[in-house]
Symmetry: C2
Subunit: 594 residues, 2 copies
């Protein structure tokens, strides 16, 4: 079954849950007035349904081939990429000075969800290009920008991120790839990188690699890392392609999922060293990397949302078709569609509600990023930057965990058919599994949330957010709408648990950091489920005021209620896990090392 | 990395958590005195490590081939099966009258975990044979038993279960395979079955199929189903193999996991109909099927335990080797093994504690099954039968959900390497995914727990179990051992939540069954995590009394504490989900059908 972008759900989440409409009205988006949002998303949905979704299974089955350093993608993929880039989709949020459309990142975030849902392995390629664009735009010299930026923005060339080495994964400071200064001001890079997504492919004429490496005299650790732009083909002064650079795919990985995405081992320096151009300053590569990774982290969170929605759509269709058993109270021969069974309904609602919550969190992150660069007021920009920084690890980890959980429920709803590859549910399950791992594992995200977001400024950005969420709860309670059930009370309890847990962790960070770190993962889950619950409630309130613009508004209320009563309700248990569970984790050595 | 059976953990769970030792002492096991338990398990562990574990990845990579109706298993598999059967492992708990060793099912349950952990796709074959043995022994004629039982028990021939058809999965009453009475008292079976595990293979000379089919004059639904024994080769009076029967593999499925296990489409009747022999009475096949399925359900629960333990062992080894980042407080160059990080410790403990809880629940089910047939006192037998009936759906669903969750954590601990197939973690993740689906989906198990276990005799078997668990909590509290932390309080709260939820559901079953059914899955989870927590605490108390017999007893206390404080602590949230969450599920149509 194909994929159809859920444009009404996306619009509600974007404009109301994530606050795009209010931010536009407040003038934080400059001359963007929001009028074309719906049209852009409708068009993206059409392209995804017509072109990308049909290639998803073809890509999974064909995978990619490597021979003589050349990667061949699955049939139809280069053509689809060309059509996609030609239609301007790579340039949605790129800077206008270099040919971009200058639309909000929030719009591109919704598009990213749509590309990922229709074809996650495909959507991954522009995700990396986008990160490369960010890094180059923020830290690159004008000369490099003039040569590379427009072609990356148009999608004529793609970008990559070269971070990981066999001994340097989460701990990027351990990397060994060497950069030697050359007489002409460029550098010669040599070393081996692994897990390089779209490190080599046949969809564009050139590939622009962004490589972390270490100068001979660099300090050890992360303070001695520099970022280099290393093109596959050098570029002549007139913009035409020159010599092949000394960077080659020497292997591709056989992976659990995203088979159509080439995950390459890249070797530099077999022929004297790859020519590299410094981005930013020597030994300051980590800052550039974080610029790349923040964008990429949000993008990966959106992959979680996309794959979850795809799995949901497929499971819903199956549950409406597959007939087994009778509804309670029905008699006679025959069978009903399994969607009549409460247990199946629960699974479908769980899938849809979790997807909707993750979606809104991701979009809110994008809106905060937009405001942090677009608003005219410096205080509003810096508050938004703090909000984006706080939300990014939640957007990445919560959404990708949900991508896995929802894809697994999708398999379950299919019963035995879910385990058979031709059904397609299993592919979503396999594809989704990478998202909690790459661009910083979800454990790393949780530690980032705890130590670099909660743990700075006395938790100021957390308290600011909790105050806003508290207002949402008051609005739900003030609505007196019985359709909300116990949503208000459940979210109030969840917020109180999140508040207490945040204070406890902040104290422990100071005097017993291992105890705080033991609670990092359950804390992020507590944060995500409370935040998601409040955001769904907030957009449900908005939907009630919109009438039938986005379809029957009652469904948004029911969904918010389901989430509050069935997911956000775990908050107190998660608080106990963080606060009471740490001792057992710290005392684990007698179990684990026995 | 290979697999080593965790014999001390297994012995503690079997003898103390599951109560085998007490039952033996009470005389419920007849002349089985328990002396050889450890030796049998050590030997099973050796065979698994030496022979089965090395074939696990070979089987995954090679899969199986079907050509001209013949299935070829992976290299080394037929030989391994022969060695396994020759060593007597198929006959562990088989009746002595037909060559079995007559050992307790509890011992065989521990062996089943070991086979599944070392090679799940291999272990699946004897699991089905065991179910066939049960059905034949319980319901077959003496003539059929004399011909087939000894060879099924020795493992010279394997058995299968033919239930599913394309239109009849969970709703077996919809099956259409036809059985026509023949003049000689046998039957001619025709039809197509799907998802038939080891329906065809090259590991034995004959395969004995147990086929559900419908007589021409049978009532519709489950009351018109009969069970037939359909051998691949007919058997002559002297026991030699005769003509090839009209039952053939016409297809094999391409699956997400357990690639080495042939999942066959079976066609009967292309040549006049397969010769079948009635098991039990006409139209009473469902009773026979339940005999087969109960054994199989416990077996599948043990697959969940086994794959979880395998994933844990592999993740633990990786976490001890892989170096990234520094422990808090450590300075200088270099990196520590990732097991020093609290977030990694939490994941490993979660894996181990969940695995241990599921293991004990499964073993307790087996002990109850043993007592239900071995005890001399009729009341004790019937109480044990009720206990086994109550525990079976929990053993199946809770353990297989845990198998998935633990396998997923195993991938996560490996980081990017976990997504690469050659590492092996991904295979466990893929293999584990079938267990919540087959032998009755976990949704079906939850509904069974709710309606056929809680919902009979006013919940008598539930209240009896809760009383016993309450005694465990009192013992933990009376121990005054600070190493238990807040275990007593957490389990007390969990038991209270389980008790309240059970009463609420029992009432709703009578007056609002859809509301009760909406809570079936979270109820089973609540039951499993509370039960598992109490069982781990119970065996930790026993370990304290055993001294160092099974290694440092402190680790069992720490593990019980971790489970109580980090898993069982979800009880109140799950109670809310059941009690407060039903309305939103029942009101789902406005969301799902919009």
């Amino acid at each position: 079954m194909t994929y159809r972008a859920p444009v009404p759900d996306i619009l509600l989440a974007l404009n109301h849950g994530a606050g795009l409409e209010a931010a536009v009205k407040a003038g934080h988006y400059g001359d963007y007035d929001g009028d074309i949002t719906a049209a852009v998303l409708e068009e993206a949905g059409r392209f995804a349904t017509d072109v990308l979704a049909p290639l998803n299974r073809i890509g999974d089955q064909n995978g990619i081939k490597l021979a003589d350093g050349k990667v061949t993608t699955a049939p139809g993929w280069p053509d689809a990429y060309k059509r996609w880039a030609d239609a301007g989709w790579n340039a949605v949020s790129g800077p206008e000075a270099f040919g971009g459309q200058g639309l909000p990142m929030a719009i591109n975030a919704a598009c990213t969800e749509i590309w990922s849902a229709s074809n996650m392995a495909f959507g991954l390629c522009p995700l990396l290009t986008l990160s490369a664009i960010e890094a180059l735009d923020a830290h690159g010299s004008d000369e490099l920008k003039n040569i590379y930026l427009a072609k990356l923005i148009s999608g004529e060339w793609t970008g990559t991120m070269h971070l990981t080495e066999p001994q340097a994964g989460s701990d990027v400071g351990l990397l060994r790839t060497r950069a030697e200064r050359a007489a002409d001001g460029t550098y010669r890079i040599s070393g081996t990188k692994i897990f390089i997504t779209y490190g080599e492919h046949d969809m564009t004429d050139n590939i622009v690699h962004f490589v972390l490496a270490r100068l001979p005299d660099a300090p050890v650790g992360t303070k001695g890392i520099s970022l280099f732009l290393v093109p596959k083909f050098l570029v002549n002064a007139d913009g035409s392609l020159g010599a092949r650079n000394d960077i080659f795919a020497s292997g591709i990985e056989h992976k659990l999922g995203i088979h159509a995405s080439p995950t390459c081992v890249m070797t530099m320096g077999d022929n004297g060293g790859a020519v590299g151009y410094l981005i930013g300053e020597e030994n300051r590569g980590m800052q550039c990397m974080f610029t790349m990774m923040n964008q990429a982290r949000l993008g990966v969170g959106l992959e979680g949302v996309g794959i979850a929605d795809r799995a949901y759509q497929q499971a819903l269709a199956y549950a409406q078709e597959r007939k087994q058993g009778r509804a309670i109270g029905k008699t006679g021969d025959g069978a009903d569609a399994i969607i009549v069974h409460p247990d199946i309904k629960r699974m479908l609602l769980q899938m849809r509600a979790m997807t909707a919550a993750a979606r809104t969190i991701c979009y809110a992150t994008a809106v905060a990023l937009d405001i942090s660069v677009r608003a005219s007021d410096a205080k509003i920009r810096s508050d938004a930057a703090a909000r984006a920084a706080l939300l990014t690890p939640i957007a990445k980890a919560f959404s990708t965990d949900i991508g896995n959980e929802v894809a697994s429920l999708g398999v379950q709803i299919h019963g035995g058919m879910g385990f058979i590859e031709e059904t397609g549910a299993a592919q979503h399950f396999r594809d989704a599994r990478i998202a909690p791992i790459y661009e910083g594992t979800n454990g790393i995200q949780s530690i980032d949330l705890l130590t670099r977001k909660l743990g700075v400024n006395g938790g100021a950005s957390v308290w600011a957010l909790l105050n806003e969420l508290s207002d949402v709860v008051k609005q739900v309670e003030a609505s007196n709408d019985p359709a909300f059930g116990t949503t208000g009370a459940k979210l109030r309890d969840a917020l109180a648990a999140l508040d207490r847990t945040s204070h406890w962790l902040l104290e422990k960070l100071g005097n017993a950091p291992n105890e705080a770190l033991a609670g990092a993962t359950p804390y992020l889950r507590l944060f995500g489920s409370t935040l998601g619950g409040c955001m769904l409630a907030s957009q449900a309130l908005a939907a009630r005021d919109l009438g039938d613009t986005l379809g029957d508004p009652k469904r948004f209320v029911t969904l918010a209620r389901f989430f509050a009563e069935n997911v956000a309700v775990q908050a107190t248990a998660l608080e106990h896990v963080v606060v009471d569970g740490a001792d057992a984790v710290i005392g684990a050595d007698e179990v684990l090392l026995a």
